[in-house]
């Protein structure tokens, strides 16, 4: 049968197993079945991972740490072969150290009193590192640098799924109408069914932002749950950082009146086709649009774990737009400085100064 033969030859082509004769046979078959050319073209392309996205550099950094631990006793045992063995050991340490972007992921079990909810796990990222995990319900979370996520080891049946965030994270929530998903931050709680969105709630920043990419969420601004703001795709909501703590009294005073706080909704910011500044970090891109240099350098500090200071205060007010495929901080600074609007140097301690 023609069709079956076609499938077979297409399979062999994908596997690079076609003989000369088969190549010609395939060409002829394709002439009789022109529609098959489309699917053939599709198969010859590179296919992408659907389930998970990794950062090989971070994996390598973690691996080298483990290798270092595993290698220590081995090297001691090989003491007699002195010089070469030792130098090698030094090289391992050097390699591990030079990759100082080591993802220091602290997995801790926090045991709570017997009446408390199930045991919590915690994922922490330091400055300059990002991490990704899959929660027990299949929800995927990308955790940006300098952030902390508390989540239960298992989500109970028929109960809300509650996680707590400090810092910035992108959530791709698994739909489960019976168990609504909630993200608690210092500034608000987000109620979710199934959707993907970004939350930015760093304790050192004066406002917190929820950005919705897909689906629908409600942002709850007070503990009583009376102040709810619904978000539509491609909208973000910015609220003052400490609103949640105050809101209880405010609600009591004003009761049915709306909260008088500077809460505002905006569309998400597009820098380039398909690059949103709010979520670019999830795909390992650093993106900003018309942002003061002072804020750009704060991002760089967070992203690369470096220190940046200003020797010329006026430079803080320069505005920049850019998308970077995170090489290293020098590449980014070089590119920004190539506009000739500022220069920078590194001092003896490695701190960067804008001049």
């Amino acid at each position: 049968m023609d069709q079956e033969r076609l499938y077979h030859l297409l399979a062999r082509e994908i596997a690079n197993e076609l003989t000369h004769a088969e190549t010609e046979e395939l060409q002829q078959l394709l002439q009789h079945h022109p529609h098959a050319s489309y699917i053939r073209e599709l198969f010859t392309r590179q296919w992408e991972e659907v389930s998970q996205q990794e950062y090989p550099q971070q994996m390598l950094a973690k691996h080298l740490q483990r290798l270092e631990q595993a290698a220590a006793p081995e090297e001691e045992a090989e003491e007699p072969v002195a010089t070469s063995g030792r130098r090698l050991w030094l090289r391992i340490v050097a390699a591990a150290a030079s990759l100082a972007i080591i993802a220091v992921v602290g997995w801790k079990l926090l045991y709570r009193p017997a009446t408390a909810p199930p045991p919590q796990e915690q994922l922490v990222t330091t400055k300059g590192t990002r991490s990704k995990l899959v929660l027990p319900d299949g929800t995927r979370v990308w955790l940006n640098a300098g952030s902390k996520l508390d989540y239960p080891k298992t989500f109970a049946v028929d109960q809300q799924r509650i996680v707590r965030l400090e810092g910035e994270a992108f959530f791709d929530v698994t739909t489960d109408a019976a168990r609504p998903f909630r993200v608690q931050t210092r500034s608000f709680t987000i109620l979710v069914l199934g959707t993907s969105f970004n939350v930015r709630a760093y304790p050192e920043e004066d406002s917190a932002v929820t950005s919705l990419v897909q689906g629908a969420v409600q942002v709850q601004l007070d503990k009583a749950g009376k102040q709810l703001v619904a978000l539509h795709p491609n909208e973000k909501l910015t609220v003052p950082a400490n609103l949640f703590e105050q809101s209880e009294e405010l609600v009591k005073e004003s009761d049915t009146k709306k909260l008088q706080v500077p809460v505002y909704k905006q569309p998400l910011t597009q820098v380039r086709d398909s690059v949103l500044t709010e979520t670019a970090w999830v795909t390992n891109k650093l993106a900003f649009k018309h942002l003061e240099l002072e804020k750009v350098t704060a991002m760089l500090e967070q992203w690369y774990g470096v220190e940046i200071g200003f020797r010329n205060e006026q430079r803080k007010q320069l505005y920049f737009t850019g998308v970077f495929d995170t090489g290293n901080v020098d590449n980014v600074l070089e590119a920004l400085a190539s506009t000739n609007s500022f220069t920078y140097i590194k001092d003896a301690n490695g701190k960067i100064w804008i001049e």
């Binding site: 079956e4 596997a15 690079n16 599709l42 991972e49 090989p56 483990r66 290798l67």
Partner: protein
């Protein structure tokens, strides 16, 4: 993308204590080994440790590995064995095997951003692949994504190259039908009829 020659030369340099080649080898293969392991142990977290353990073993035994003919297959086989061991420890399975694969770790699809296909077609392809038996999905991924040859897959899974050929043909058929069904419902109907 896997280039056998490149992997082989990196591996040779690793055997001669080259740490940079070791890092490059890890970066070149860690993702695909991670997914392969995750399908067996059903956890990306565990799989990352498995892959790390495999590479620790490689470094520790590097002076005894110069004879390895096909380093890529060697790494896959090691990953398989370490994964099965892990599974055995984790779940206290008496017989850990490749029969129970978590296929969600294996799923691949054409890049919808390339503009060649719509998100809808992409989803249909994913659904078609999901409907395949687990081992068939694994074979499709190993050949299409990880670019293993028939012989390499056969060696890894202890099956014959003919079986690999047949399983891959089934996968191609399923995906083709899913896409064609989308292109033209009627055409596909008659086509499905012809097939059966």
């Amino acid at each position: 993308m896997r280039n056998n020659e490149q992997i082989r030369s990196l591996f040779e340099r690793v055997c001669q204590d080259d740490m940079r080649a070791y890092n490059e080898l890890y970066l070149a293969l860690c993702k695909q080994l991670l997914h392969f392991s995750a399908a067996i142990v059903s956890s990306f977290h565990l799989a990352e440790e498995v892959v790390s353990d495999v590479f620790i073993m490689i470094w520790q035994k590097r002076h005894q590995l110069a004879h390895v003919q096909n380093p890529a297959v060697y790494l896959y086989v090691a990953t398989k064995n370490y994964s099965l061991n892990t599974l055995q420890q984790q779940k206290r399975h008496l017989h850990a095997s490749l029969e129970l694969l978590d296929t969600s770790a294996l799923l691949i699809a054409p890049d919808a951003e390339s503009g060649m296909i719509s998100a809808e077609v992409s989803q249909k392809i994913e659904a078609a692949i999901r409907s395949l038996p687990a081992r068939c999905q694994l074979i499709f991924r190993l050949v299409k994504h990880d670019q293993l040859s028939y012989r390499e897959v056969a060696e890894l899974l202890n099956i014959s190259p003919k079986t690999v050929d047949a399983q891959l043909t089934i996968a191609v058929k399923k995906v083709t039908q899913a896409v064609r069904f989308d292109l033209s419902g009627e055409l596909a109907q008659s086509y499905l009829h012809l097939d059966s």
